[in-house]
Amino acid sequence: MEYVVQQIMNALAFGAEYALLALGLAIVFSIMGLVNFAHGEMIAVGGYTMVAVSALALQNPLIIIGAAILVAMIASVTLERVAFRPVRYADPTTGLLTAFGVSMILQNLFLLLVSPRPIAVTSLYFLEWSIELGTLRISSLQLFETIATVAVILLLMFFLKRTLLGIAMRAASLDFEMVRLSGVKANRVFAIAFMISGLLAGIACVFIMARRGSVDPHLGFDPVLKAFVACVVGGFGSLPGAVLGGFLLGAVEVAMLVMLPQSLGGMTDAFVFGIIAVLLIWRPDGILAPRTEKGDKQ
């Protein structure tokens, strides 16, 4: 029983991280058709911010966490302004290549300006202790990660349902020009989308850093690749799909880790992607892919 609960917590924590990042990708993709592969670099930006803030001898964890999230948001909005705005209405391929370019430039900037080696950030270790509930023992960090993710998803739902900009963003995923024709500024919608995306990356960054305890230039690569897979599984462009895909990927990954014999331990990812391949044969567009609207004359 204990073991099962422990593995469920593992799956939820993995899934929460993927879901956060997948949402960040999906929100940008849904309105501008851009797969933002530079999303992972926002995680690294957050990590390096933590290093910088610690170096300034500000050891208050709240300041460190706040600064990391804030800088990730600012970086994300800045990227939109500098790199993605010029290609906003260009072909999706152009956007994709731009995102790869931005990602490489940022990684190389970290290499050149900071260090190719991992830098330790120890100030978040306090987030990790074990909570004992009777005979159960679970990690506080995993609990925080799951709770934070659920809270963020609820807040995002509230924003998308109840505020004018949220409604505009949902509408923009269908017909951006018509949103502009209602008088909502396109620049504002894009800026908010990237800001939310940066916020999600910043929150994910806090948990990734608390778990790993160090930052290196390629910190964001793996998580974003997983988030991309989560988006594909859930249905690209669908926000509920991104969340579902994230948690599903987390669950499958933990299941494989648990069930595969020791000798196949190194093949976990191969099995995970194998399962996803089968899933995609069943639903090629992803589980919750937005249905194409059959409208009138377009």
């Binding site: 269908l174 020009e177 024709l181 008088g183 009138d296």
Partner: protein, 232 residues
């Protein structure tokens, strides 16, 4: 109120409209008629600034040709576009809320007003707009366009693809808007109905204005009507 001078509209390298002039005076309904592909929607798109165009467009004595789309809408232009383009993934109410993005004051009052005018929209306020029928979507598109309380309404093919009974309902609505002394530029293929509702009409074909005048004069021109319907 709205003046268009020597307007040329481009789609990529193709020139779709070859230098037209038209005027919509305040409080009048002006019809822009013509067959499929004549350049009517291109003209509307140029006025809202979503396509590349040259020439001078002025509105309320201000030159707007260089302004962004959003700024033009803020200046008091609103459009009910061809194909309605309601936000299918939003509820009816959310469509109206978004339509009134620029005029937050008294928004709920205006929404209530439209539910009064179109009771069917009120009944379906929480339904996704994509589930509405074509006629209901057209009503929603018109209501949404008026949520910002615009100075001028550009109505692009409101009767397109609707059943005859619904078409006459839509024209009744336009008649009502006209009675309210709203300024309207009405784009239509249905010339008979549009002429009945307008104060002045332009006839567009192959990107040029081939005739203009009072509806009673144009309505008798059989050559124009033949061109419009394709019957010769």
């Amino acid at each position: 109120m709205l003046t268009v001078e020597n307007l040329k509209v481009f789609h990529g390298l193709i020139e779709a409209v070859h230098g037209i002039n038209l005027t919509v005076p305040k409080g009048q309904c002006v019809a822009l008629l013509g067959p499929n592909g004549a350049g009517k929607t291109s003209t509307i798109s140029a006025i809202t600034g979503v396509v590349r165009s040259s020439g001078a467009i002025s509105f309320d004595r201000r030159l707007i040709s260089e302004m962004s789309t959003e700024a033009r809408i803020k200046g008091g232009i609103s459009v009910s576009p061809e194909g309605r383009r309601v936000f299918a993934n939003l509820s009816v109410e959310e469509n109206l809320i978004l339509g009134g993005a620029l005029k937050p004051d008294g928004k709920s009052k205006r929404i209530a007003h439209w539910y009064n005018t179109f009771p069917i929209l009120g009944e379906r306020r929480h339904q996704m707009a994509g589930t509405l029928s074509g006629g209901e979507q057209q009503m929603l598109a018109i209501a949404r366009a008026l949520m910002n309380d615009p100075e001028i309404l550009l109505l692009d093919e409101p009767s397109l693809g609707l059943a005859p009974k619904i078409v006459s309902q839509i024209f009744d609505i336009i008649q009502k808007l006209r009675d309210e002394k709203r300024t309207i530029l009405l784009v239509e293929q249905n010339a008979t109905q549009a002429l009945r509702l307008s104060d002045y009409a332009y006839f567009l074909n192959n990107g040029r204005i081939v005739a203009e005048g009072k509806p009673e004069d144009l309505g008798d021109r059989e050559d124009l009507m033949a061109e419009l319907t394709g019957i010769s």
